[in-house]
């Protein structure tokens, strides 16, 4: 790989702008609504994909057509009309006439509280921004450091073209196209997403965070992510953004696949803050995500998630512990307020011997929201000495919200040890008064109590992300106790 200079980057950014500019004529660049084989073909063509990829998408589409939308989750919503959605629209374009003054002041106030820089605010609202020298050099440094280690980190569309052998080998191996309704839909029409490959024995020297955060905006409705950690490698991957994202697309159906080969470790942290709808429960994003990781021998996958957004969340980041001695972890904070509904949890599938899994789930419900934990721990017949520990805690605020726990345990091996603990508590008036008496006002008191409740999970997040997540929890629950 030749040296990537700042000039190259500037050049690339210029080209990107051009690309975006090319698509500004929205009318002609958005596909007609509805979904059929021609649309799937057209998406693939638009992205200039090889034949095998087109075939893969078509196969997925065929499967999807035969499937029904799942109804077992503890959520209620008006089902999207899949024939009323446009499945391809050009990346969100920058409007040169738009300034921050045009952005919703509520949103700006929230950014301020989160301490998000003006440039990032612009980025997130598609306000044209100048290239800041600083961020250019940061991006360059990232690219250089990663390149030196042989780490591949690019969009999945690029990867399909540049590393077809890797994509072809792994795509859909953890989440098969026919896995579930939304996964099949995603496989047929995914717009873009990220691809990451860590070579054998390489420890990724940085959290793939800042870089990703800057590039996160506008990845679209059907995101596809594939992370491969080759033998003995390590990567910590952060997705999402603490800033609230308003999106015109109501339906989001992403797929994330993680592959940890022998002795590899993947840490995957998510902060999800999609628009949850207004205080009356109108609007808001439906977030139907399939996330799953595969662990080979001695490998480890940790999922950490902080979910505060979306009107409806359906999400179960899972681990298939195929290799002996592999380890799966799931740490989750899910906050629901107003009319939000979340049905989230995990699946730990123990196949190999001496496999271990840990589940820590913290659900916080406020307003009129419903918050469900749904988790499956499955111990296969060959999984000698498998261990699982699950802890599900729910915190209720007020009298109109709900917290539900649906744990499923299937053990087919007598040596399995499975522990499950669950608690439900309520923020008490006494706790609030105690804080008030020490000079801490009610809002701050709630933040303190909620952060204390979520501590075990917050501690799993990378440092700077944890600080932001803490602030996010405070803001999400503002005004929820009167």
């Amino acid at each position: 790989m030749s040296k990537y200079t700042e000039d190259d980057l500037r050049e690339e950014l210029k080209t990107k702008e051009y690309e975006y500019g090319f698509f500004t004529d929205i009318e002609s660049e958005t596909f007609p609504i509805g979904l059929n084989e021609d649309i799937v073909r057209a998406i693939s063509k638009k992205k200039d994909e090889p034949q095998w990829m087109t075939d893969w998408r078509l196969e997925a589409f065929k499967v999807w057509k035969e499937m029904a939308e799942p109804e077992w989750a503890n959520v209620r919503y008006t089902k999207p009309d899949f024939q009323a959605i446009a499945y391809y629209s050009a990346p969100t374009s920058v409007d040169p006439n738009k300034t921050l003054d045009d952005v919703d002041p509520d949103l700006l106030a929230m950014y301020k509280k989160l301490g998000i820089s003006v440039d990032e605010q612009k980025k997130m609202n598609n306000v044209a921004m100048d290239i800041v020298v600083d961020s250019v050099s940061v991006a360059t440094t990232f690219k250089k450091t990663l390149g030196e280690k042989g780490i591949i980190f690019m969009s999945i569309s690029e990867a399909i073209k540049e590393h077809p052998e890797l994509v072809k080998k792994h795509l859909g191996t953890v989440v098969p196209t026919k896995d579930n309704f939304y996964a099949a839909l995603n496989s047929a029409v995914f717009s873009d997403g990220s691809f990451c490959y860590i070579p054998k024995g390489v420890r990724c020297p940085m959290e793939l965070s800042t870089y990703f955060r800057i590039n996160q905006a506008g990845t679209g409705q059907f995101e596809r992510t594939l992370v491969i950690a080759d033998e003995g490698s390590y990567v910590s991957y952060l997705e999402g953004c603490t800033a609230p994202s308003r999106d015109e697309n109501q339906l989001h159906a992403a797929v994330v696949e993680l592959i940890a080969l022998d002795d590899a470790e993947i840490k995957y942290s998510t902060v999800q803050n999609w628009f949850p709808g207004n205080a009356e429960g109108k609007g808001g994003v439906y977030n139907f995500v399939t996330k799953r990781g595969l662990c080979e021998k001695n490998a480890k996958i940790s999922w950490t998630q902080v979910e505060t957004g979306s009107a409806v969340t359906w999400k179960y980041p899972s681990c298939i512990l195929k290799g002996d001695n592999s380890v799966g972890e799931f740490y989750s904070i899910a906050v629901t307020n107003n009319y939000q509904q979340a049905d989230t949890g995990t699946k730990m599938i123990h196949i190999g011997k001496n496999t271990k899994s840990t589940i820590i789930s913290k659900g916080i419900s406020a307003g009129k929201s419903q918050n469900s934990y749904r988790g499956l721990v499955q111990i296969g017949s060959r999984a000698d000495n498998a261990r699982n520990f699950s802890q599900c805690d729910s915190l209720l605020m007020g009298n109109e919200c709900g917290a539900h726990t649906f744990p499923y345990i299937e053990a087919k091996n007598k040596t399995a040890k499975v522990e499950h603990e669950a608690t439900t508590s309520k923020i008490g008036e006494d706790q609030i008064f105690y804080c008030n008496q020490r000079g801490i006002d009610t809002e701050k008191a709630i933040a303190l109590i909620v952060n204390g409740f979520s501590k075990e999970v917050l501690n799993k997040l990378p440092m700077e992300f944890a600080v932001e997540a803490q602030k996010l929890l405070e803001i999400s629950l503002e005004g929820s106790v009167g």
Partner: protein
Amino acid sequence: MLKINNLHASVEDKGILKGINLEVKAGEVHAIMGPNGSGKSTLASVIAGKEEYEVTDGNIIFEGEDIEELAAEERAHKGVFLSFQYPVEIPGVSVTNFIKTAINESRKAKGLGDMPAKDMLKLIREKADLLEMDRKFLSRSLNEGFSGGEKKRNEIFQMAMLEPKLAILDETDSGLDIDALRIVANGVNKLKSKDNAVVVITHYQRLLDYIVPDFVHVLYNGKIVKSGGKELAHELEEKGYDWIKEEVNA
């Protein structure tokens, strides 16, 4: 410092305080004694500003200001401190983190920035030593799994950190063994000065051997029915409350 005039207060329409008059000056220690259900803890909660209690008549003047309309945290910022009879648990929030938040919120109310971490640490060490607290204790979740003695010691630790003008100790002696009682009382005495005041609410004379009051008041059926010097506490210890009840009912 504190002047309570004809205070009536009720909870869920049930009258509990029925005309309390009390004046506490800087540098003084007052003890409030009385049988169960006489309204001692209610009085403490009303002064601290607990919302469930409604003041139906009279007023509370603190440092010349009627604090009736102030929220509990505003009263705290002005220097009112309540050592709780039953301190609540806050899981996941360490003793250190809690007191740090309390101090910085009070500073914020006074227009000051956060206390520098170095100063905070120094202060915490100093006050923890005063109350003979183990350092490990400071990293534990607030009141979670604390023994009765640890809870009360932690209350006085917070008092030491916040340096209030008026400290109300609500049954701080209950649940304490004799050693813990000595440590807690010793802490309170060291914090006492001519500029602050302490109101001790207790059933028993025991605590008053350590924290010696200037005045003792007997609360019965929502009213202060008798006041005197420290010898009144001894008299109560000897004779119980029945003679007071008889006097009142006569």
